[in-house]
Symmetry: D2
Subunit: 398 residues, 4 copies
C-alpha cells in the first residue's frame, strides 16, 4: 500500500478514527419489495432488538456509534424518547438522525406537505415538528427528511403550487429547529411516485434547503439518481456550495435497489469519497458530513449486510485517502490526462485490507469484523430468541 | 378521421370487434409499493368481487370478456375451479390466462425453478403443473409464466446452472400442456431481483420458449424494458420469428411503474400496435396475440383505472389502423423519410374518439365507458359493500 | 376541438400570434454523427444560404422571424455583422440568439473557460465577450451559452476548481452584457464529455446563472437529460424560481439524438407547454421564454425537418392551450386523479390540425406549410444551385 | 494475493500466456465526436503507422500480437493485402479480424444490407464478400461485422422487411466464408441510428447469427447496451448457448463512450471475465473467444490509451482467476449469499499488480508497460515524424 507523499499511516488512522458511519434502525428489520417480504428469524422487530443489533455492529467495527431512528417505526405511542436514548447509551450508542414518517399513513396517499388538503398538510407538519422535540429528547442533532410526495399521472398535481406548499412548510420546520440541530433534505427521482416527485434531484433539494434556512442542507442517497448520473460531480458541487449535509449510503444497479455498498460499483464510492478527501485536504479540516447507511434488502442476514457495508465504506474511504493528489495536480498541470487518472486508479487498485486489519487490531477490534461476528454466534442467538415472537402474517402483493 | 385507401369504417369496426383485452383479477385488488399500500374501500378482495368488477368493465366496454386469474390469490385451498368458471360465465365472462405464483412463498426467497435446492425446484414445478390442471378446469387456454427468479448480488447464483434448471423445468411444463393450451414466457430486466434476473430480456425468453416446445411463446410486458428500449422493434422481430405470444399492457416512465396505458407515452403504444396492424394486413389475418392488461397502481380507483386502459388501448389500436401503409411504402420507395414518417404521425394526430363513440353506440354500449361507469354508481355501491369487510391490517415497510 | 371554459378561438389565435420559434442557422447546414456526415445537395453552406432557408421556413409558417447565429460558423473573419443583420432584414428576418463557439478549436481539447491554462481560459472569455459586441451589432438581445467543457476520465480535472473558474468567467460575461441583453446558460449531462460535464444539469446551470447576475437564466435543451428525467417538472420549477430563459427544442429517444420535435414523444412536448400555459394563465401574461429550435439530423432534408418541428411545436402548444385548467383544478380539489389527468388527455387527443390550418389561412399563410414548401420547388432549386459549389471533402471517422 | 484452492501461480501464468488482446488499427488514428476531432501529432494516419503503433504496444505487453484492420480505412485502392500482412509479420504481428465498412459511403445513408434499394444492398454485400477475400490474403480468420443500419424516425423503414434482407445477406456472407473463418455479428442499441437499429441487442444478433450458419457467432461490445444492462449475464447466456464469439472491449458511463477499459466500472469487467473463467474451469478448456479492443477517445494519447486498456484487461482477468469458485459453490450450497458474493469481492480486492509485474519480467517484458513505453520516447518520435505529414483540415460540426 503506497502512501501519498507527505502522509503517514498515522494520518490515515487518525482520519479513519473520525470516519463514523451511522446505521439505521430500519436496516435491522424485515423489509421487502412490493412483491412481498422474505422474513428472517433474526431480523429485529422492536426498538430494543434494533439497538442490540446496532450495538453488535458497533462492537466489531468500532465506527458505528450512532443509530438513526424512524419516528413511526421506533417510537410506539407512549414511548419515552429519553428511555430509548438511555438504552442506546447503555449499549455504547448514541441516537443519530431522527427520521419523521409522512408517507405511510393512508392520509398521505396524495401527498403530505404537498397535499391539496390543508388538514393533511398540517398533520404532516405537526408530525415533523413533534419529531424535532423527540430528537431533542434523544440527544439527536440531525433531522433527516425524505418525502415520498409526488404524483403518478400528468395533471394529478399542480407542480408549482405543491412546490410552494413544501417550501413554506420546510421554512416552518427550520424555524422550529433548536440551536445546534441540522435538517437534511433528501431527493429521489422516482418511487413511490412514478410521474413526478416533488423533490426529484439535488437541485430541487438545494433550492428547498436554501429557502428553508441556513441549517438546512442536502442529503445525497447514493441510490437516488437517474441512470448514468455522475454522483461525485454532484457531491463536489454541493461541497463547493456549502450545501452537502450527508449521505444515505447504499448501492444499486437499476433503480433504488438498496443493496450493500460496493456490491455493484465499488469504484463509484471510491470516487465520491475521493472528492471529499480532496476537499478536506485543501481546507485542512474534516467536512461536516453525516455518513449514514440506508439499505434495505431481504436476502442477506440484516446484521451481516450492515457489517459488509460498513467495511466496504471504510475500504473505499481508505483507498480514497491513498490518492496522491499532488501527483494528480502535477499531471494536470502538464495536461497529462493519463497520469492524472492514474493517481486515482493506483489508489483504487491497492489492497487496503491488511492495513485496515492492523488498524482495527490496534484499537482492540477484530481484524475481520464479519468473521468475528459470525464466530460470536450472535445471529443464531437472535434467531432463536426472536423467531417465536415474530408475527405470522405474510404480506401479499395483491 | 381520414381512412387509409381501400379501408372502410366497417373494416375498422370488424377488426375492433376482434380486439379483445383481457383484464387481470389482481388489477381490481389493493396493491402498492414496497413503502405500503393505500387501501381503497371499493377494491376487490375476493374472487367474487374481482369477477364482479371485471364484469362491470366488460359491461361498459364490450371488449373485455376474459379475466386473467392468479392461482395463489384467486384459488383458496379447496376452491373448485369449475365453480369459478361458472360464476364467471354467469357474469358473461370467460377465464383467460392462468398465472401460477412461484414468488411469494418464503421458500422462493432464493429462487423457484432456479433454486439450488431440488426440493424447492420440485415444489415450484408441481405448482405450475397443478396450475395447468386448474386452467383446464376453468376452460383457460393460456398458461402465463412470470418468474421473479434472479439474484441480488454478483456470485449469489451460478447463472448458467440456473439457466439449465429453468430450461429443463420449462420443457417439463410444456410437456404437461394439454392440446390447445399455449404457454407464455415473460421477461423482465429487474425487480424484485436487483443484480440479475434469470429471464431478463426478450432474447432470453425466446430462447427458453424455443427450448420448451412449439406452443411456448414470448410475453411482452410493456413496462419490462431498460430505458430507451425500442419495444415495437422487439414486437416486430418476434412477429417475424413467430414467437410473439401476447402482451401485458401498462405504461411506465422509469421502471416497472405499472401505470394506466397511455398515461406517459401514448405514441409508443400506437407504434407497437402499428407494427401489428401492418403485419396483419400483409398476412391477411389476425395475429394470435393475447392482449392482456397488467397494471398495478394504488392512486386511481381500480375499476376506473382499468377502464381508462381499455379505452386508451382501443384508441391507439384504432389510430394504428388509420396508418396509410401504402402511402408509407410509396414514400419509402422514393427514400422520402419525411412522408414515410408522416403516414404514422397523421394517423396518430387523428381524433378517434367520435368514431369510437359511434362504434360503441352501434353495439349498444355507452359512448363514453368511464362516464357511464361513473353514472352507474357501481363504485359507491362496491365501497359501501366491501369496506366493512376489509381487513384492518396495514402493511409497514419496515 | 373543445375549448376550455372562458376561452375563445380568438384567444388561442392571439397567443399563437405571439408564439414564435427561432430557427438556428446551423440547422440548415450539413451535420452528422461521429461516423460521418451524409451530405445533402440542398443543405446550406454559407450565411446567405442559411438566411435564405430561414426565410423560406418563415415564409410558409409565419412564426419564425428570428434566426440564431453561431459565431464561428456564420461570421467568417472580416464579416460585417451589421451586413448580416441587414441581409436578414431584407428577407423579413431578425437576428435571434448569438451562440459563441468555444468547443471546436484545438486549444479547447481540455476545456475552454475551465481549462487549467489561463491563456486558453482568457481566449475563450475574449471570444464570448467579442460575441456580445457582435450580438449588439446584429441587433440580437440574447447571448446563448453552451459549453462542451468536461472531462472523460476520473481525475482528469479538478471539479471544484473548474467550477470556480467557470463561475468567475460567467460573472465577467454578465458584466459585459449591454442593457437589454440576456444570457442563457445551457446544461447537458454528457457528450462530448463522457465522464463529467461542467454544467451537467439544470441545478448547476441555475447556480452558475444566479452567480453570474440577474440577466442570466437557464436554457433547457429538451434532449439534454438523463433517461426518465421529468422535463416538465424542471420547467415548472424554473418558472417558479424565475429562472427559465428559453428552450432548445428537439426530440430524442436515447441520448442527445437531436431529432425533429414530436418524432418520439409528442406527449412530453405537450406536457412541457402545458406547464407554461398554466403559469401564463395564472400570471395573466406571457412568460419571457425564448423558444429556439436546435436539431441536427442528417437524414431528412434540412429545411423540411425544420418545418416539421415548427408545425409540431405549434400543434403541441395549441393542444396545451386546450387544457381545461379549471376542470383539472376542480378535479384535484375533490382528489379525483382520473379527471384531473383527463383534462390533459382530452386536450392532447384533440385534432388541432384543422384549426391551425384555418389560423394560418386567416393570416395569408398556407394551410399546410410542408405541402406548400414542397410545391414551391425551393428545395430542388437550392440543390441545383448549391450542389456544384459544395466542397467535396468527406469526413472519415478514423 | 491469495490463490484459489488447487491453483498455482503457474496455472495463472499459463492462462495469461493464452489471454491475447487484439488491438484495432483505427484505435491508433485520430477520432472524435460529432463536434469535431482533436488531432494528436503522434496519431497514426497510414497503415504503416498503425502497424508500428500496434507493434510498440505488443512490444511492451507481449500479449497483443494481432491487429484488427478496417477495410476502408486501411486498404486504399490498390493496396496489396499480403503486403500488409507481410509488413505486420515483419513487426512480429499477425492480422486479426477484418472489419468491412458499409456505413461511411454516402450511398449507405438509408442503410446498407437493409437499404430498400437492391443496388445498394448488392454493393454492400459485394464489399463484405470482397472483405472475406481480403481477409484470406492477410491470413485473418475472423470477419467482424458491425452495421450502422437503422432508422431515425418511426415509419422510415419497414422493420420486418429489413430484417429479412439482412438475414438473407448474412446467409450469403456465411456461405462465402472459407473453411476456418468465423464471422462475428455485433449489436448496438443506438447511434448512429436514433430510432431503431436493425441489430439492436444480443438476441437479434444471435438470431441473425443462427440463421446465417454454424460459424457465425455474437460479438459483444461492452459499450453497446442500454443503461443498467447486466452484461455478464448476457455473456454467460451466450456461452451456454455456444454463441459467444468475441468482445469489443471499452468502457462507458452513458452511451457508447468508447473510453479505456476500467476507467468507469472496473468491477463490471471483472464480473464479465469471472463468468468466462468459471465456464472454462468447468469445461476444462479455453473458450474460443476473440478478445478485441475497440475504443475511440481523443483526449489521451492513442498508444498510451491502448496500453492502459491492455493492462486493465489483464488485471481484471487475473483477478477473475483468483475467484475461489469452490468456496463460492460451497457457500451457495448452504444458501450463504454473503460468502458466495465474498468469493468475488475478495478476488477483486486483491492487488494483482506485483504478480503481473513479475509475470512480465519472467517473460522478458517490462514490469510496467506504460512506464516503459514512456521511457522509450516512442511517442515523441512518432509526433516529430508524423505531425508534418498530417493534413491540416479540421472537421467542423456544421
Amino acid at each position: 500500500m503506497k502512501l501519498p507523499r507527505g502522509l503517514s499511516e498515522q494520518d490515515l488512522c487518525r482520519r479513519l478514527d473520525r470516519f463514523e458511519l451511522e446505521t439505521p434502525s430500519w436496516g435491522y428489520a424485515d423489509t421487502g419489495t412490493r412483491f412481498g417480504k422474505f422474513f428472517q428469524d433474526a431480523a429485529a422487530a422492536t426498538i430494543e432488538e434494533k439497538l442490540a443489533d446496532a450495538a453488535a455492529v458497533h462492537g466489531v467495527t468500532g465506527c458505528c456509534p450512532r443509530v438513526a431512528l424512524h419516528v413511526l417505526w421506533d417510537f410506539a405511542a407512549g414511548t419515552d424518547p429519553s428511555a430509548v436514548a438511555a438504552r442506546a447509551g447503555a449499549l455504547g450508542l448514541r441516537i443519530g438522525s431522527i427520521n419523521p414518517n409522512v408517507f405511510q399513513d393512508q392520509c398521505y396517499k396524495l401527498g403530505s406537505l404537498t397535499n391539496r388538503d390543508a388538514a393533511v398538510r398540517g398533520r404532516a407538519l405537526d408530525h415533523i415538528i413533534e419529531s424535532i422535540g423527540l430528537a431533542q429528547r434523544t440527544g439527536s442533532d440531525v433531522l433527516s427528511l425524505w418525502f415520498a410526495d409526488g404524483t403518478n399521472y400528468p395533471g394529478q398535481g399542480h407542480i408549482r403550487q405543491r412546490k410552494r406548499w413544501l417550501a413554506e412548510a420546510l421554512a416552518r420546520v427550520h424555524a422550529a429547529l433548536p440551536p445546534g440541530m441540522a435538517m437534511l433534505v433528501e431527493y429521489k427521482p422516482f418511487e413511490p411516485a412514478f410521474y413526478h416527485t416533488d423533490i426529484a434531484d439535488w437541485g430541487m433539494a438545494a433550492a428547498f434547503a436554501r429557502a428553508a434556512g441556513p441549517r438546512a442542507r442536502v442529503l445525497v442517497d447514493t441510490g437516488h439518481h437517474l441512470p448514468g448520473c455522475n454522483i461525485e460531480h454532484i457531491v463536489a458541487f454541493l461541497i463547493d456550495e456549502g450545501m452537502l449535509g450527508g449521505f444515505h449510503l447504499n448501492d444499486r444497479k437499476y433503480a433504488d435497489d438498496d443493496l450493500t455498498v460496493g456490491a455493484i460499483d465499488p469504484y463509484q464510492f471510491f470516487r465520491v469519497f475521493q472528492e471529499i478527501v480532496l476537499a478536506e485536504r485543501e481546507m485542512g479540516r474534516d467536512l461536516p458530513i453525516a455518513y449514514m447507511i440506508d439499505q434495505s434488502e431481504s436476502i442477506k442476514p440484516k446484521t451481516e449486510a450492515m457489517l459488509e457495508t460498513v467495511v466496504a465504506a471504510q475500504e473505499q474511504f481508505t483507498r480514497a485517502m491513498l490518492v496522491d493528489h499532488a501527483a494528480a495536480a502535477e499531471a494536470r498541470a502538464r495536461d497529462d490526462v493519463v497520469m492524472a487518472e492514474r493517481a486515482l486508479k493506483d489508489a483504487f487498485a491497492a489492497d487496503v485490507r491488511p492495513f485496515l486489519a492492523d488498524y482495527r487490531a490496534a484499537r482492540g477490534l477484530p481484524r475481520d469484523p464479519l468473521d468475528a461476528f459470525r464466530q460470536s454466534g450472535y445471529l443464531a442467538r437472535a434467531a432463536a430468541d426472536r423467531a417465536p415472537r415474530k408475527r405470522n402474517t405474510t404480506a401479499s402483493y395483491a
